[in-house]
Amino acid sequence: MSMRWYVVRRVLWAVVATYLILSVTWGLLALTPNPAAEQLQFRAAASGGSAEAAREAFEARRGLDRPLWDRYSDYMVNMVTLNWGWSDSRSQPVMEAIAGAIPYTAVYSVPTTILSVLLGLSIGLYSATHQYTRTDYAATFFAFFGYAIPNFWFAIVLLLVFSVQLGWFPVVFDPDVPLVGFAMAHQLVLPVVVLVTGTIAGVMRYSRAEALEYVQAEFVKTAKAKGAGEFRILTRHVLRPAAVPLMTILIGDILGIFLAASYLVEVVFGIPGLGQLSYNAILAQDTALVLGTTLIFTFVAVIGNLIQDIAYTILDPRIDYGDR
């Protein structure tokens, strides 16, 4: 099978998966009573009105009294055309709310990703070339620490020590300062530290394990014998073959840890990004916004998986496309 055909098949598969996810979500929503409708009914009953009439009025207003197939096709068309409904709790279209939140998520996730990849790779490569030294043990311990410490708890402890006790960083996030600037960087130090300790562990362990396979390889010995410097050996001879399997974890796993972790970190630090938007939507029982924000996270995961698989085939031409 040619590589192009594999990529086409993989993209089609992502489309099918997205379609299935949208359908399952629609099915769940259609099957369950809407919390907002229940609230309306409760209010109607409490003020002496008819709960049944309130429900019918609600369904007519939302178009829920139409046949299932019409509702399904409408929903699908709206999803594809990015018309994701109206957020009751924020009184704005869901898309607008999401667009307003994305910059705040990006402003800490971009530096986190760059830092954890750079630091994780360099520490991992260093401990592979200096195996069983004290630095290697320290790095391993640090990796375990970062992997095991609950993100939200670490964030609380850091806030307690550095913001409340020492007063080095602001306790409350201020969304009004310019997105790129010293004040923003200053208040993002703690969130970035928390997220980097969480994600760096995986990168470090994998890059160490992958690089270990090649530090004793014949071609590395040859490079050493012909007098190549340590840095050149590391970047040209060890990193290049190790980069292929590393791609798998770099995109997929970081994204996975990251999506869940950013949710918690945004809530703890009060950053008005996507995670907090979704969390507040759940608390406010705003169905359209809950759906929109969870779907955004899901799509990011699907696209991350897709990019990972495609990057893998481009980087390593030896891969057999028949067996996924």
Binding site: W13, A14, A17, L20, I21, V24, T25, L28, L29, T32, P35, F144, F145, Y147, A148, I149, P150, N151, F152, W153, I156, V157, L159, L160, V164, R205, A209, L212, G256, L259, A260, Y263, L264, V267, S278, Y279, I282, Q285, T287, V290, L291, T294, F297, T298, A301, V302, N305
Partner: protein, 390 residues
Amino acid sequence: MSADEPAETFESVDWDETGSRFSTLSRRDRGAIASLALVAAAFGYDYHLLSADRPTLTWPIRWNVTQLDWLFIVTLLALLFYVAVPLYSNRRLTAHYWAEFRKNSLAVVSLVYLAAVFLVGVVGPIFLSKPQLALAQSHQPPVYTAVNAAVPVNCLGDVASGMCHGTWAHPLGTTSDGKDVLVLVVYGMQVSMKVGLISTLLVVTIGTTVGTVAAYAGGLVDEVLMRYVDVQLVFPAFFLYLLLNYLFGGSLFMFIVIFGLTGWGSMARLVRSEALQRSEEAYITAADSAGAGTLYVIRRHLVPNVSNSVITAATLLIPGFILFEAALSFLSLGDPTVPSWGQVIAAGRSDLGTAWWVSTLPGLFLFTTILAFNFVGDALRDALDPRQET
């Protein structure tokens, strides 16, 4: 692991009979099924004959067994029959693994710690009554520490020069509504163990079954099962849980079911790739040519030979589930009726400045438990799986 009935040899097996369903079961399996039936009967009695508010047991203790407790009992039985019994009956192999495991002293310490958490978590809640609201004793500091006497409403310990000292009545202090933090921590141990062990048992059972069947059957079965796994893997369980939690309300039972029933995709992939290698080996070919049935081969040859990777992966799955549960209950998206560690951490968040112990101490237990599982998992991989180098 070898067969547990030493009398059975290649010549003594009736190969024609291995095609039938029951002959693939060993004595241990029959024991497991018998006790499972017993539990199921007890469950039926509790569910249909007793009203929901009447306790299942009144002697020796009053205990109203919940759905989750039943699942936990089944999990403990599975651990007994498929971990404890094989370890006991293959003593020489156990000694060998133990010698390998003992090389990692950090892992031994972790194992002791986890055993303590497990025992205290299972036994403790039986003897300790559920933490009660007691506003008169709110914000007591832990023993050997002191806070400004203005912090607790009513200091139970000694007050010296304006500082309130902790007492042994509440060794880890109390929360803002006067609940004892130590009791909450013990209850949290049980919640964490239930979440970790039950979800992992579900993942291991489904993942191993799907993986071995896909690998050994091959062809269309393999294709259908693995494409289904592909779909399942793209749907992040965390967000599925958020959505269902929003629609139906959160409960620990739902958490375990969702994560157990949707989290087995990568386990199935791992088992399949391992089983594919195993099914090429000579002992499988020998069993095949002797006329052994499919179920027999899977049950007696494939499952035991992939179990080492499964056990290692499972030990590393447990802390993930515990962490997820704590994170969700921290966001108050978990089960509000269950005193879990995440909930206590969230409760203490608002008065971190005055009562630091409420959030930090349960968090410390959460952190050490997850760390310990990781150390044990790492050492188990080295001991059980010498081929894998990480």
